[in-house]
């Protein structure tokens, strides 16, 4: 009998499912790719066949155009792969369309989480724990200092900053896929009915979210507005534009950023952020460890992030674990 999980191999460019000749979130073009979600470090262009949720396929099509062949895998639906491998997609709660993938082969069950979180998110269905033998988890915020506060308080900070000085606007740097839409949805939930103004780079993704059924309310482009009209308003841009020349068209913006990294004061200062909003689409330390305990796998593999600390936690809790040295997965802007 083969060694446990020998049919799934970590490779620097992603996870390879040997008997199916398929890859999960490969960093370079392959013939058959299973993609957990649409972020650029997981979803790349140029594959022959892509197996993903309908939403992830739509996001990828927007960014890269259509691949050679698309296979839609709805949540809870199974796809048969060559070599006797079955893949089933479950919600990961990370962004719209994000999925964990359960792989079954030779009586072994492997769950690859992609990126995930356990908090409620109005823009995507919640993470579902799936029983398995091998749990392949992310560890972006895998340090015990990362404990994300409830989002309600962070949205409250944003609204207070808006009220504090009606002459200024609040400019929030937020990842264009997922974070921006979650932020808008949470603002709506908190009663913010005014238009939300977007940097041009955010527009297409927001429109796609709406086409896929996520209500975001009145969205407008900054480019269409005179400077004075933006006073007292919320403006959302990609993190890279926060300190860019582009901001000169805004009325004395309060620079905010929505990211799990904002928990650390120096990280916020390095970005010249005045108003750090600790909002993350990744599991924090407590969620990572609680999820491993809940899923209770025989073995845990850690794909990317601060894997050292999570490995140490597994060791302290007598859990078998190893870190995979995958390249290209890093989420500086989340």
């Amino acid at each position: 009998m083969a060694a446990p999980f020998s049919w799934i191999r970590p490779h620097v460019h992603g996870l390879c499912i040997g008997p199916a000749n398929a890859w999960i979130d490969p960093a370079r073009p392959v013939e058959r790719a299973l993609v957990t979600h649409g972020h650029a470090d997981h979803a790349r262009g140029g594959h022959g066949e892509v197996i993903a949720t309908r939403e992830t396929l739509a996001i990828m099509a927007l960014r890269y155009g259509r691949p050679g062949r698309e296979v839609v895998a709805g949540y809870g639906e199974s796809v048969s792969l060559p070599g006797g491998v079955r893949a089933t997609f479950f919600p990961a709660g990370h962004v719209l369309g994000s999925a964990q993938i359960l792989l079954e082969h030779g009586g072994e069950r492997v769950v690859v989480t992609g990126d995930y979180k356990r908090r409620a998110d109005p823009t995507c269905p919640p993470f579902e724990p799936v029983a398995c033998d091998l749990f392949v988890t992310e560890a972006t915020f895998g340090l015990p200092v990362f404990r994300h506060p409830p989002i309600k308080g962070e949205i409250g900070k944003l609204l207070e900053a808006l009220a504090a000085d009606p002459g200024r606007c609040v400019l929030v740097g937020a990842y264009a896929l997922g974070k921006a839409q979650r932020l808008i949805a949470e603002l709506r939930r908190a009663g913010w009915r005014a238009p939300v103004y977007l940097h041009g780079a955010m527009e297409r993704m927001c429109r796609l979210y709406e086409e896929l059924g996520v209500e975001l309310g009145d969205l407008r482009l900054v480019a269409d507005m005179p400077k004075a009209a933006l006073a007292g308003q919320v403006v959302i841009c990609p993190p890279s534009a926060l300190n860019d020349r582009w901001t000169r068209r805004l009325p004395d913006p309060v620079t905010a950023m929505a990211s799990g990294w904002m928990r650390i004061r120096q990280r916020a200062r390095q970005r010249n952020v005045e108003l750090p909003l600790v909002i993350s689409d990744h599991a924090d330390w407590d969620e990572l460890t609680a999820t491993i305990a809940e899923v209770n796998p025989a073995e845990t593999w850690i794909t990317h992030g601060r894997e050292e600390a999570l490995l140490r936690w597994c060791e302290l809790n007598q859990r078998k674990a190893r870190a995979l040295a995958l390249v290209g997965y890093e989420d500086e802007d989340d």
Partner: protein
């Protein structure tokens, strides 16, 4: 001081708009600290502190003010107390990994601290403490009880509250607030003169009840007694190019290249204040120790040497003085190698007589008589330059460089001593700057209004013949001297000629020549070139000049006068 309009952030977060209930006041202090961490502009910081002081009740605001001005000390709580406390609760490996990532022990501890379990049953949750409760508890701790006492407080706070608690307890705020800035904010908060705040501050202990009663409620001023107070300096305008003054109306003095100080002796105590009003007596104990006659004098702090003003009674270069600046403790050797003295040029108060309303000429006469009675090793008199005609003064000024003096001062003979910069009374006439052509190497984004612009420029000179493979080595950094229009041009140049990025810094393709103006150049280990400039600024953009025609380091080195 008035604060400009706009730039108001996070005040809502402080809960300053709402009521001032005592419950959870430590949380508001924590919010103040956080807002100060994220606010870069001085005015923004002043406003945050002022708003806090206005909205917070006694005695919490007094304790907070004491924390900001470094007036609190809890000797029982040590860094090791905190570390030991964490080791009981967190795995040492996880702590070390976290500490390495966060870079600050107090912040790491505040984030790692286990959240207390939600209370079971009908027991109400323990309220967050007020600042005064925290101070009372911390002051009551002994070595033996420090750990347990700190842990109990940690359990009553959230992560930001724990951060503020630990910064308070270990006495190291490190948030870029000087005692003087906090006092200016206090004055701003209650619209009282900052000089009066300085005056009454002395002799008051935290939480400064009498000080707040006076400033906020109009109670009689606390009795400061005889204390060595800082009085704001009188400042000079730069003399515009081409303007000539009549030396019958203006007296000329040298502009020494040291630091401006005020030496004050009152009630048997002597203090040395820097230009910002910060007390630097501990850095220059030989000055404070050499004066026992009651007075308030204005002068230049210098180190003995022969660079400024010649062999006899001369002063060393600014570089020598720099060895002494910023030290909390001065070694004997340091004091012997770099002996400090004050070159006096004005008298504000002499033996109880306030001279500030007198014309300069009268004050000068008082100063000449009085300074003769002082310790000649530590105090001398800045001479008046004997020039009858403005043109003659111009020639004297032109020779100032050889004497390594910054230039000359012109003071109206009938000017009273007034706080701040007043038109028409005092002028500084610096010698013409030195110029050198450098090549732009790196640019960094500015902060505040310049946060979207690359506005801090590092430039270099060739370490040999550029056609023979010489390299450019950094010689200085400048972030002013250009107009707004030129800044836009430079910003665009940087973006279009970037070859590397290091966080907020861009490396350029080293194609642009900048004419850099500076006051002097000195040996320094700060730059790889071994040289550092004083007051470098971008004088002109020389887009017309090819980079290989920029100056060499040896050209710059030849200008060193140390």
């Amino acid at each position: 001081m008035r604060l400009g309009p706009g730039r108001r952030v996070g005040l809502g977060r402080l809960g300053l708009s709402g009521g001032c209930g005592h419950d959870g006041a430590m949380i508001r202090f924590a919010a103040l600290l956080d807002a100060l961490v994220y606010t870069r502009s001085r005015n923004g910081k002043l406003r945050l502190i002022a708003d806090y002081l206005r909205a917070t009740p006694d005695p919490d605001r007094g304790w907070a003010l004491a924390a900001l001005t470094g007036g609190l000390d809890f000797p029982a709580v040590k860094g090791s107390t905190l570390r030991a406390l964490l080791m009981e609760r967190v795995d040492p490996v996880l702590f070390q990994l976290s500490r390495d990532y966060v870079g600050d022990t107090a912040e790491t501890a505040s984030l790692l601290w286990p959240e207390p379990a939600a209370p079971q049953g009908p027991v109400p949750p323990v309220a967050a403490p007020s600042v005064s409760e925290v101070v009372t508890i911390l002051s009551g701790l002994s070595r033996a009880t420090a750990a347990a006492g700190l842990a109990t407080l940690m359990d009553r706070l959230d992560a930001n509250g724990r951060y503020a608690l630990l910064k308070l307890a270990t006495g190291a705020l490190r948030i870029g607030i000087s005692a003087r800035l906090a006092k200016v904010a206090f004055a701003e908060a209650f619209a009282v003169p900052v000089e009066a705040v300085e005056e009454y501050w002395h002799g008051q202990a935290p939480p400064y009840g009498a000080l707040f009663a006076w400033a906020a409620q109009g109670a009689p001023a606390p009795d400061g007694g005889q204390v060595p107070l800082f009085r704001p300096f009188m400042l000079a305008h730069p003399l515009e190019e081409g303007v000539e003054l009549d030396l019958a109306d203006y007296a000329a003095e040298w502009k020494w290249d040291g630091i401006r100080v005020q030496v004050v002796c009152a009630g048997g105590e002597t203090r040395v204040y820097s230009r910002s009003g910060d007390d630097i007596s501990a850095t220059f104990p030989e000055i404070a120790g050499a004066l026992s006659l009651p007075c308030t004098l204005d002068g230049e702090l210098l180190v003995r040497g022969s660079h400024q003003g010649g062999e006899a009674g001369g002063a060393a270069s600014f570089n020598a003085l720099q060895q002494r600046l910023g030290r909390k403790v001065v070694s004997k050797k340091m004091a012997e190698d770099y002996p400090a003295f004050v070159r006096l040029y004005d008298a504000l108060i002499v033996e109880g007589e306030d001279c500030r309303a007198l014309p300069w000429a009268r004050r000068r006469a008082v100063l000449e008589t009085f300074s003769a009675r002082l310790d000649a090793v530590r105090f001398d008199l800045s001479p008046v330059i004997p020039a009858a005609e403005f043109a003659e003064l111009g020639e004297i000024r032109a020779r100032a460089r050889d004497e390594a003096i910054e230039g000359v001062m012109l003071k109206r003979r009938d000017s009273p001593y007034l706080a701040g910069r007043r038109a028409g009374l005092w002028y500084k006439w610096k010698r013409d700057p030195l110029l050198i052509d450098c090549v732009l190497l790196y640019a960094q984004r500015g902060s505040g209004k310049r946060s979207s612009f690359y506005s801090d420029f590092t430039f270099g000179c060739w370490n040999g013949d550029p056609d023979q493979g010489a390299e450019l080595l950094p010689v200085g950094k400048a972030y002013f001297g250009f107009t707004d229009k030129e800044l836009k041009w430079l910003d665009r140049h940087v973006r279009q000629h970037t070859v590397n990025r290091f966080g907020p810094v861009r490396e350029t393709d080293k194609s642009l020549v900048l004419e850099v103006a500076f006051d002097s150049v000195h040996e320094s280990r700060r730059h790889k070139s071994g040289l550092a400039m004083r007051f470098p600024r971008i004088n002109r953009i020389r887009a017309d000049k090819p980079a290989h025609e920029a100056d060499r380091i040896e050209t710059l080195r030849a200008l060193v006068r140390d």
